[in-house]
């Protein structure tokens, strides 16, 4: 089968790889019809996530058709059209029981902080991802969800990560009606967080980034205010000033390890990798939020050490909430929002690219070329 093949930082290609097989009685094999490149794939692409082995196939956002099921799979059947949450969750452990599906304790032997994730390095379990023609899906009765009849596959594929992560970013902000929400990062997740903040009753939604076309897109898609931090002397002072010198009620870090905007963070976090990525967005979030406010983090950072202004967290009495999205928990609500037109996921897709052109697709997304917001990869078998 064709699959994306990681060869080292900034180098990926398409290759023939062995077909995945059932390795556990609760496995399924899914034929991929759509997969995406996610902003967090860029952390892998840039070589920032430890134990990303050469030969890996990335891709944790995908939908497809069930081709084969293991002997203990009861709910899914061959031919089902499914969307597959990016978290691999057993549904039985103490954390899954709390609906913390992103923190499953039976899917990632290599690390205890995070559960298994498709195509996201051995630090997230060593699973092959969905930027391929076929993928092995463990715990097939837990995560995979049959796509409702009539739902556009382009909507469905964004329900595997982008929509739930953006939604949970807003949810973790504890937004109360009328609150001012500031989001750092106008990538797909940041834009979705802005969109979802309104569903929680935000009174004002502001997004901050440095890429003009993304800001323009965010302004139209999420009906929010959008600002370029390069035009500001200091983004924190800007937020204070625009909130009558109080600070935002809620700040969301939707960037993570690849954040630009601070030379020291760029050198120590992204270039020398002396900390778990550049923590610029996190600094801005902590320092821009109101005293007693909430900082919500969905930006991905590597392990282990980060130079964060923890003193300010204490002094300001900030609540910090952060996690990988608990996709399965959120899906029923989000499917309803999509079906009722409150969220239009496919409206974010700007590029549909044949899987065979994965190298160029990564370059376009990574370098923000051709006004790219979100890229969908389509395997040859799904194009006929």
């Amino acid at each position: 089968m064709l699959a994306m093949n990681y060869r080292g930082p900034l180098r990926v290609r398409i290759d023939q790889k062995p077909m995945p097989e059932i390795e556990h009685p609760e496995d399924a094999i899914v034929r991929v019809t759509r997969s995406c490149i996610c902003g967090s794939d860029l952390h892998l692409y840039n070589g920032l996530v430890p134990d990303t082995r050469v030969g890996s196939t990335f891709g944790h956002e995908f939908v497809g058709v069930v081709e084969e099921v293991g002997s203990e799979v009861r709910k899914l059947k061959v031919g089902d059209n499914v969307l597959v949450p990016f978290n691999i969750a057993c549904g039985k452990c103490a954390f899954c029981k709390q609906e913390l599906y992103g923190n499953c304790h039976e899917s990632n032997p290599e690390a205890t902080a995070v559960g298994g994730i498709f195509g996201y390095s051995h630090t997230a379990g060593g699973y092959a991802g969905g930027q391929a023609e076929y993928v092995r899906v463990p715990y097939a009765d837990v995560g995979p969800t049959v796509i409702p009849p009539g739902m556009d596959p382009d909507d469905a594929v964004l329900l595997t990560d982008v929509v739930p992560t953006g939604y949970q970013a807003a949810e973790m902000g504890g937004i109360q009606p009328g609150d001012t929400v500031v989001i750092f990062g106008a990538g797909p997740i940041g834009i979705m967080a802005a969109k979802c903040s309104w569903l929680f009753g935000a009174g004002r939604v502001i997004i901050i980034d440095q890429v003009e076309y993304r800001l323009e897109f965010a302004k139209n898609y999420a009906q929010c205010e959008a600002y370029d931090f390069r035009s500001m002397d200091d983004p924190v002072v800007f937020v204070k000033k625009t909130t009558d010198w109080m600070g935002a009620d809620v700040c969301i870090d939707a960037v993570g390890a690849d954040a630009a905007g601070n030379a020291m963070q760029t050198i120590t976090g992204r270039k020398l990798m002396l900390q778990a990525g550049s923590a610029t967005a996190l600094h801005w979030a902590i320092n821009s939020v109101k005293k007693g406010g909430i900082v919500s983090i969905v930006g991905v950072y590597g392990p282990t050490d980060n130079l964060v202004p923890i003193g300010n967290v204490v002094n300001k009495g900030i609540t910090i909430r952060a996690n990988q999205a608990s996709v399965k928990r959120l899906l029923p609500k989000l499917i309803d929002h999509v079906q009722n037109g409150r969220i239009d996921p496919k409206g974010m897709i700007t590029h549909w690219v044949p899987l065979e052109e994965v190298s160029d697709a990564y370059r376009i997304f990574s370098d923000k070329l051709d006004n790219c917001i979100k890229t969908v990869l389509i395997p040859p078998s799904a194009r006929t």
């Binding site: 913390l100 205890t112 051709d370």
Partner: protein, 160 residues
């Protein structure tokens, strides 16, 4: 909230998920007797361990399922095995893993050549797309590269 709704009537679904009880302490801890017993859940069937799986020393076992396509191998594999002696709390774990990734990159090129495949760095880096959408960046890279090569050649000639 009713007054606010009027202000946001242009946004479909405004406030539909507003919940004054959206408590920052979510998820509420499950305070059951069972939960106090640690590994109390009925574990899923264990996936057969037919390949080398490295597991964190912060857990006593291998998880019920895991990925198998790329077991550790070569020098990078040796470094990875060393890294797993240390916990996720330690630089001793993460820095060797990053080093192993860089070694693995070189081993990958050697593997390609062994199999008679010369890696096409131009294509793998997606330069075709960059040339199409941002030729200036390619031109800058080529110019910087040419300058560096010229400088090195000039230095070497001078040294002789």
């Amino acid at each position: 909230m009713k007054n606010l709704e009027k202000n946001y009537s242009h946004i479909k679904g405004w406030g539909i998920d507003a919940d004054p009880k959206n408590d920052p302490t979510y998820p509420i801890k499950l305070r059951t007797d069972e939960a106090q017993k640690g590994y109390h859940w009925e574990r899923p069937t264990q996936q057969p361990i037919t390949t080398e799986i490295l597991h964190s020393n912060e857990r006593p076992n291998v998880t019920a399922v895991f990925g198998t396509p790329l077991p550790p191998k070569g020098l990078s594999g040796k470094i990875r095995r060393y890294a797993f002696q240390f916990s996720e709390n330690s630089y001793g774990h993460w820095l060797p893993l990053l080093l192993a990734d860089r070694v693995d990159e070189i081993e990958g090129v050697i593997d390609d050549l062994r199999q008679g495949h010369v890696p096409n760095f131009f294509a793998e880096r997606g330069w075709k797309a960059q040339f199409k959408h941002n030729p200036k960046a390619i031109a800058t890279k080529v110019a910087v590269g040419a300058l560096l090569v010229t400088a090195v050649v000039a230095y070497l000639r001078r040294s002789k």
